[in-house]
Symmetry: C2
């Protein structure tokens, strides 16, 4: 019988360190060619989209997808797992918490593998819903102890910094400009829904790693196309998916500032099949749209834990 | 809260006439441009595939998909529905019974709209699992009273014909060759898993409508490519999907016997936006791979009925 898990149950089953380990394993498996990931399928709904992100990790015994509606009414996420041996449905579970955790974890993993100085100061641009998991992922993955947060609203960034300093135990503080956030930072993480670029060429300095994780529609751009033209290395979570969703890269490619053949997949950097950063002076840009296998890999961990601990509702056949 | 429905519950909620009406409505809506359907996404698993078929019918308030594994271990089908207004998950349900019903219903609908003489004798080639719903769909949709069944195994075809004659109350009888099945038939329906063509040019006669519904992988062919070269009209359930799954048509197109630009979508025939059969002498070929919106449309009916009747398990949020 298949298992149904609520968001609250998943919250009890997973921690950020678990998620980091599961995703590192997955990226290395993907570099060995053991993963299948399909680009997100989008179907229009009223004022939004319905999205399905199929993927499989046969060695771990699972195939499945995240599915969600995202619209003016908010988002509703679920994840489904099937047995990769063909024996049927394994689980249906809430996918909101896993989406947040895995996005934060992948951001942390990217920062760890591509920062000129892992553990150095990190600038975070954006203080919305997803920023919490970004900071948690960055702290857990890189060991950073200096996190600077900038967001347009002073109240929002100050409240966010206070909460995160308390929950992480490291120095998270609000700053009143992107320049102040970037001062001495090794990594900058953007996590906005901005349609207009928040990071521009004048913000760049040698050695900076930029992780853009704030949107997955080509309509929006957090990064100015000129920044992409100046990057020494562009890393994406999935090349096929980035070609239809990474608005910044799509615009830069149209403008002749970027060549898709130069894009490197994150799993190839992590697995060592492609070079990542090769000098401390390089500007590295990481564009994360989020891919189905990240959800499936973390859901597999939640499912395994739930079975071990007897958590969840058995669905009648 | 979302609803979970078992296969047994769905069996109580749906009848073939309901399914026929729901699908006729859907095809007319699709001809008006009110439907979104995405080609099946396939992910390899051990000795099989995992499949996801997203689709939406916003006017009916639903978006969703069928999902299933099909492998050496058999098949396991589920269907998911979300609210098209973005308010979240509506239902998760067994998808096996709906798959069978809708395939039979679409076959019946295609026969009704494209037969030279609706209600005339029908030949069925194949007596396996799906043949039951094919006969039920054909009888309910066309009013046929003479159904001839051929399958390679005499025991299998005789047993099948007896069972179907009893359950439908019409003359369903087994015959020992495809030629005997075709003698005087207006429509021939193939429902096999054959990799080798079962229907060849020598079987054709003026006015025959062929409905091929037996497989959805380009590796298999029920129909000889030469048959396609002789067809006056080729109808498919979805042109984009047929281009990657309808092995017969793909082979015929490669051989120069068929031009994709001539393919007509079934919904355009039903909705009257494209001509179907224009004379009683034409040979018409209908290739059905099965598409996600057929599952979503029938699942929407099951969901609506379940809510009206208080059937199903409420899933905790």
């Amino acid at each position: 019988m298949a298992l149904y898990l609520t968001e609250a149950e998943i919250g009890e089953l997973l921690t950020m360190p678990d998620v980091l380990e599961s995703l590192e394993d997955m990226f290395r498996a993907r570099a060995r060619g053991e993963i299948v990931n399909r680009p997100r399928v989008r179907v229009p709904i009223t004022a939004g989209t319905y999205n399905v992100m199929p993927a499989g990790w046969i060695e771990r015994g699972v195939v499945g997808h995240k599915m969600y509606t995202a619209s003016a009414k908010g988002a509703s996420f679920q994840i489904v797992l099937y047995a990769a041996d063909g024996s049927g449905l394994l689980a249906v579970m809430g996918g909101g918490r896993i989406s947040g955790l895995r996005t934060g974890a992948v951001t942390g993993i990217a920062a760890r593998h591509l920062a000129a100085r892992p553990g150095g100061p990190i600038a975070v641009v954006g203080a919305g819903f997803q920023a919490t998991a970004q900071v948690n992922g960055l702290v857990a993955a890189t060991g950073a102890t200096d996190i600077r947060v900038h967001a347009r609203s002073a109240d929002k960034r100050e409240g966010f910094a206070l909460r995160m300093a308390e929950s992480t135990g490291v120095d998270v503080h609000a700053v009143d400009s992107i320049d102040a956030a970037l001062d001495g930072a090794t990594v900058v993480v953007t996590i906005t829904n901005s349609a207009e670029p928040v990071l521009r060429v004048e913000h760049l300095r040698p050695g900076l790693t930029i992780v853009a994780a704030g949107n997955n529609t080509w309509l929006r751009s957090e990064i100015d196309p000129a920044v992409i033209g100046r990057a020494d290395l562009v890393v994406v979570d999935d090349i096929d998916n980035a070609k239809v969703e990474a608005g910044e890269l799509m615009r830069a490619a149209e403008a002749g500032l970027f060549n898709w053949d130069c894009a490197v997949a994150l799993h190839d950097v992590i697995g060592g099949t492609r070079a990542g950063r090769t000098s401390a002076d390089q500007v590295v840009l990481v564009e994360l749209q989020g891919i189905g296998i990240e959800d499936v890999a973390v859901a597999e961990l939640a499912y395994r834990r739930a079975r071990e601990r007897g958590v969840g509702l058995e669905l009648p056949a």
